[in-house]
Symmetry: C2
Subunit: 92 residues, 2 copies
Amino acid sequence: MDVIKVSGSSRTSAVAGAIAGVFRENRHVDIQAIGAGAVNQAVKALVLARGYLAEDGYEVVCLPEFADVEIDGKVRTAIKLVVELREPVLVE
Amino acid sequence: MDVIKVSGSSRTSAVAGAIAGVFRENRHVDIQAIGAGAVNQAVKALVLARGYLAEDGYEVVCLPEFADVEIDGKVRTAIKLVVELREPVLVE
């Protein structure tokens, strides 16, 4: 599981902990949010998570994208916040 | 001027053009938004601007932060989206 789905009622600190936890395990995490309230919670959680991960020595950056998501048979446009290390690790 | 202030009623495409324009000039831009609607517009605009800048050969990343902003004598917490090149240019 490396997609964290955030709603407008998600608790910021809980989401931040999840972001940091998944990132530590996978060096990558996608955060998905649909609607203004959810995007706001996701960004606030990411601010906190960047702080937690900086303490671990990871500088993470956010790459925002649009993503089409099907919910109850309807296609909606989500915001996907892709979180990666600033300097990608090259696998040779 | 390298702070772009976004409100909930800002037009996404106009903000995206401003982000790309300031970035091209300064290789850096800060986007400031207060409230869920504004943060949502800012993130959507940033998705578009990342596309424009990718066409110019710039891979930009977003570093979200909290920022205290004084408005009408009251301190409010804004979201600041710092936009930089993925690989920072080292000035030696």
